[in-house]
Structures are given as C-alpha cells and as structure tokens.
Amino acid sequence: MSVYSTNEFKAGVKIMLDGDPCNIIENEFVKPGKGQAFNRVRLRNLKTGRVLERTFKSGETFEGADVTDANMQYLYFDGEHWHFMQPESFEQYTVGEAALGDAKIWLKEQDTCIVTLYNGQPIGVTPPNFVVLKITETDPGIRGDTSGGGGKPATLETGAVVRVPLFVQPGELIKVDTRTGEYVSRVKE
C-alpha cells in the first residue's frame, strides 16, 4: 500500500487516519516565520461522511487508503439491504443502511450510482446528481400559477420530501438535484 507524506497532500488524496479511510478535501501548507511547518487539512471520513479539520506537522506520513469509486446500477431493496451491480462484470454488491446514508431517499431502480469501495467493501453511495422521481403526495396544483413563488412540500416515490412550485400536480414526474435536494423542473413522461 502506498504511503503519503504531507508534501504530497492535495484534494482527492485518500489516507488512513485513526483507522478510517479519509478523503482530503483541502490542504494548506503553513510555515510560521520562525517555527515548524505544518499542514492544515480538511478531510472527509469516508465511513461516517463527517468532515474533520486536522493539523499535521509537515513531513508526517500516512498510509494510503485502498478506496475506489465504481459506477454501479441500483437493482433492488430486499427489506434489509440495497443491491447494486457493476455493469461490466455483473458482480453484485450488498449495501447496508449505514453505508448508504443520505443516498437512500434518492435511489430508483436501474439508476447508476457511484459506490465507494474500501478494501473491496461498499462504504458509501453517491446518487446521480439529478434524478427523475414521481410525486406520490402533494396538495393539488393551482393551475396557471407559474410564478414559482411560495411553493409547497411534495413527497416522492422514494419517500424524499422536496419543495415544489404550486402548479405541480400529484402523479407528475419531477427532476431533482440530489446534491441540494432542490426541485429543478417538471419532466414529461
């Protein structure tokens, strides 16, 4: 396994920290006038998703984390686990609730997601940036009101709740940005 020194730190480098794989988000080299240099680093713990800020003395080394991202198709939920498949190899992966995290509310069968593997095991799922989902429940639309002002909550087929404009009707398909959880547009079937 590779070893990284703080000199090689940059966004995207994945290291082991306190036993967990972490992805470097930001790295700043600091050299005080007369003191020892250090690196201020923002990292995301890939297991918990939590963002941490740490300071390391420059020159410290860390074991690289065996973390890869793979595009996989979401197949189905069996009541306990979520099943994904690597389209080239047809290899299937089972993901538990903890690893799935917030992605849960955006998953629609057949959609392609990014599954993060650590030592070959799924530890995270990133849904597509945009998903198209059906509205299962919302107040009846006010036709002609395209002002976009105000808005109302709508429950989607996956259970996600997003704010939609007043004119949107139950049963319609809408496009949502999963990174912000915001409504983008209506989609024609």
Binding site: F29, V30, K31, P32, K34, G35, Q36, F38
Partner: protein, 286 residues
C-alpha cells in the same frame, strides 16, 4: 496552461513598478543597494529551515535561505545601512503562499532601534502600496483577545504557531504589525526577559515581513546556534555547520542596527489583490 503563457504584461509592469518604488524609497534614505552571493559554503542552523544544496568542485554549497549573514558581514566591514533585492531558496516549502524559490527584500539600518525600524517598515509599505498606517498589536494582546490565553505563559512554540494561524491570522485585516514575540522565538533579535525585539508584518492575515533590533553579541549568537543544533539533533534533522565566516565577522563587531526581511512576491500579491503567490510572479518553477 503552459508556463510560457502564464506570464502577462500587466503583471510584469506592476512588479517592475513595485521594485522601482522600493529602490526609490531606500535611495531617498541614503541606503545602499548591495548584492551578495546566493551560494555559500555554510547555511543556517535554524531547525525549521531546509536549505537546497549543490556540488561545485567536489564541495557542497548551499543556496541561501536569506541574505542575512552575508549582509551582516558587510555591516561588520563598515558598509553602513544597506538593502538588497534577491532570490532566496527554501526546500520543502510549497503551497498557496510558498514557493521554494522566491524574491526577498532585506535591509539593515545602522543606529536604528526597535521603534525606528517598525516606523520605517510602516512608511515603506505606505510608500509602495499607498495603504493606511499599519495597526500595531503586541503578540501577547492578540493571544489574549482572540485565543483567550497568555502566550508568554506557554513554552510550546508549535502550539503557539498553530493557534496564531487558526485563531489570530483570520482576524488580521489590512496591514498589521505584530510586535514583541516570545523570547523563545527570538531568532537573532535582542531579547528582553520574556519577549524579544522582533516584529512581523501581516497583510490580510498573510505574513509579509519579519524584523529585528539585531543581536550583536557574538557569544550569544554561538549559544543560540548551538541550541538550534541541539534541537536539530533531537528532531533527527541533518546538522549544518555553524557559519564561521559569519562568526569571525561578528568578532570584528556588528554595529548596532535593525533589519527586516520582506517577501516581495507576497507584497506583489497584496498590491495586485491576488490570492496565491503563483499569480504574483511571471513564471513559476514547476
């Protein structure tokens, strides 16, 4: 983008104007521009500076980390007040505001005391940048205000540096002079009990310059160098020989003087409102 394309005419003209203003300022103060060698057979003992070295005629030479010792040798030889704009090199220093090769302005004023040199540094910045007079705070008062503790009661310099960076630097707006550093961070400035005659200039939280009322006593120099080497040994860093040419010059006598080292690329960054040092130079190394 290729490096050749990174240069731009606007930047070159702005840099040239800043260099010209610096020279004009010192010329008006009857301070002599000098040049000293970039290569020397000895480097520094500072535990936290890493020199770059090369071999010439089977002997190791070091690229200077600053022109301090060479310029002080000129002062010992009777040069009077001097300044220099030159390149300095530091290994393992690369980042948003660091390049391993950078341009340094260093100057020494004979018969200047601590207050004189702080005032002059402030004047220089106003002259070059057209900025307002610097705000001045002691190192201790900044810690008490922003970190909630007295730094002069703490002996861990690393902790102080990390705290200064995270708690204090983000609060330093515009030009700020921080004075009276802890004696443990005196480097080659005169010390006075718990503090020393050392100050730093910050522009929008970025360190720009470092100045001292200079230590002149050769015995105290040797004590500090030997302490540096002890620290290097503890940390497992390579031991660099003490510069004996510099030591002999100090025996002849360094006149009472005060001096400052200032990062010119960071000064250009501030003048042009750039966010990183690589945007303040025409071409970068890598």
């Amino acid at each position: 983008m290729s490096h050749a394309l990174k240069s731009n005419i606007g930047l070159l003209a702005e840099r040239a104007k800043i260099l010209h203003k610096i020279r004009q300022f010192f010329s008006e103060q009857n301070t002599l521009e000098v040049e000293t060698p970039l290569l020397a057979s000895a480097s520094i003992t500072d535990p936290y500076l890493n020199p770059l070295s090369l071999i010439y005629d089977k002997q190791t030479y070091y690229l200077q980390t600053s022109p301090e010792y060479a310029m002080k040798r000129l002062l010992c030889a009777g040069s009077g007040s001097i300044y220099q704009i030159c390149k300095a090199f530091r290994n393992d220093e690369k980042g948003r505001i660091h390049e391993p090769e950078f341009t340094m302005l260093e100057w020494y004023m004979v018969d200047f005391n601590y207050e004189d040199i702080i005032n002059q540094t402030d004047q220089l910045l106003r002259y070059v940048l057209g900025c307002k007079p610097a705000q001045r705070f002691s190192y201790q008062e900044l810690f008490i205000k922003y970190a909630g503790f007295d730094p002069l009661e703490i002996s861990d310099d690393y902790l102080l540096d990390v705290t200064f960076n995270s708690k204090i630097e983000p609060n330093l707006d515009g030009v700020v002079i921080v004075y009276d550093y802890p004696a443990s961070q005196a480097a080659l400035s005169k010390s006075r009990g718990k503090v020393c005659d050392r100050f730093e200039v910050y522009i929008n939280g970025i360190e720009l310059a470092n100045g001292y009322h200079e230590l002149t006593d050769p015995k105290e120099h040797r004590i500090r160098f030997e302490n540096d080497l002890k620290k290097r040994k503890e940390l497992g860093y390579p031991l660099l020989p003490i510069d004996e040419n510099f030591m002999s010059a100090l025996e002849v006598g360094l006149p009472d003087c005060a001096g400052v080292a200032l990062g010119v690329d960071r000064l250009v960054m501030a003048a042009l409102k750039k966010n990183q040092i690589s945007d303040a130079v025409a071409l970068v190394v890598t």
